[in-house]
Point group: C2
Chain length 227, copies 2
């Protein structure tokens, strides 16, 4: 099976949307499950069936990063998994800081899914004096936000997660950018401004609820049609 | 501008993936912003540019639900917005219960984005005696999980959000299903079993972090190529 040593990674551009990276993440989860089950090779059709996606779409997504499969044979599970981890930047531990030690920040600090996928929650920051020095249930220490610049360099923080109220978000984002961090995941409502060299993703938790209300609305309509 | 009174809603099928509903949600957010800015019509090309998506994809997504636009003219912003709300089932208030009054459950109960998009957090449930009767900062009362069946009917709960530790998830999901709720958003690790008439969506917060580590990895690679 031909497998290049290093996938061709394109320079960051907006052509790769959040939807594409979400699909790459799903492929990776699927390959991890296949690998754990001892499966050696997988076709795009088999991947498509498992993920309920389109096989052509899967081939296109993966072809974007080089020749990762062999026509008529499929993908080597271990190889593709390794390549996807590299493409997604999780082939090494990714260091994450969370700002905001409220309910959401604490929940995110202890969220098991982050560690499992290679994200290392390095620290939790806040400005409320009574919270500094506390630890989350999972053992993440709360530090004062003013320690962020020093820690960002020393701990090589790659990504900051912003979990503060809307009115504090821009100030926190400015502090994060000032500390030299170039990727931000924002849970606060609204869209804070960042300079062009910084990537900001807004999390909209209502999207998941809408996918369920869509399902309920469809069901209701189907029932109305039948009766 | 021709606009049918009611969009053709297909019966629930797996052909409409979570990615499609996420795109529909994004279209809706965009139309809400356009409407607020007083824009009357919008073309699929203009939508595509704003959302950095493909115009053909947008037309295909929307055509799936009937003739919502007019060739050469585009979409009526108010009409399409109304139709999308109907398609996504958020043309009426959607009632949501959250199970698990830990950090995550409390954060979700107070998450402003839910209310803004038409989701009404009816109640928060837990089994820990010391939590029952408390309220979140946003004023959502914590009730005992055993009250769920009665409340599910009385308050017409559409969706249950599961925010409990992994080891409690299946038991909670069973209780939710037993209460007659047919849509579940699960934040717990793993995939609990549900009967076929119940729709379960797992939230994987690591996906958003991976879209950022992807960006950082691409950047690093682009830098290596340039030097």
């Amino acid at each position: 099976m031909r497998a290049p040593q290093k996938p061709r990674l394109r320079a960051a551009d907006d052509a790769v949307s959040e939807f594409t990276t979400a699909r790459l993440s799903l492929y990776l989860r699927c390959l991890e499950a296949l690998d754990a089950a001892g499966t050696r090779t997988v076709s795009s059709t088999a991947l498509a069936e498992r993920l309920r996606l389109n096989a052509a779409q899967i081939r296109r997504d993966l072809a974007h990063f080089g020749e990762l499969g062999v026509r008529g044979v499929g993908y080597d599970v271990k190889e593709l998994r390794r390549h996807l981890r590299q493409i997604l930047g999780v082939d090494r531990s990714v260091h994450v800081a969370i700002v905001g030690a409220g309910n959401l920040g604490r929940a995110l600090a202890d969220y098991a899914g982050f560690r499992r996928e290679g994200f290392d929650i390095v620290s939790l920051f806040d400005t409320a004096r009574e919270k500094i020095g506390q630890s989350t249930r999972g053992g993440v220490l709360v530090r004062h936000l003013r320690e962020l610049p020093a820690l960002a360099g020393r701990e090589r923080i790659d990504i900051a997660v912003v979990a503060v109220p809307a009115e504090a978000a821009q100030e926190v984002v400015d502090a994060v950018v000032g500390a030299g961090i170039r990727a931000i995941l924002n849970f606060a409502p609204g869209t804070p401004h960042v300079p062009s060299h910084v990537k900001l993703r807004n999390v909209d938790l209502a999207l998941s609820l809408e996918s369920l209300s869509f399902f309920l609305a469809q069901e209701k309509h189907a029932k109305a049609e039948r009766s």
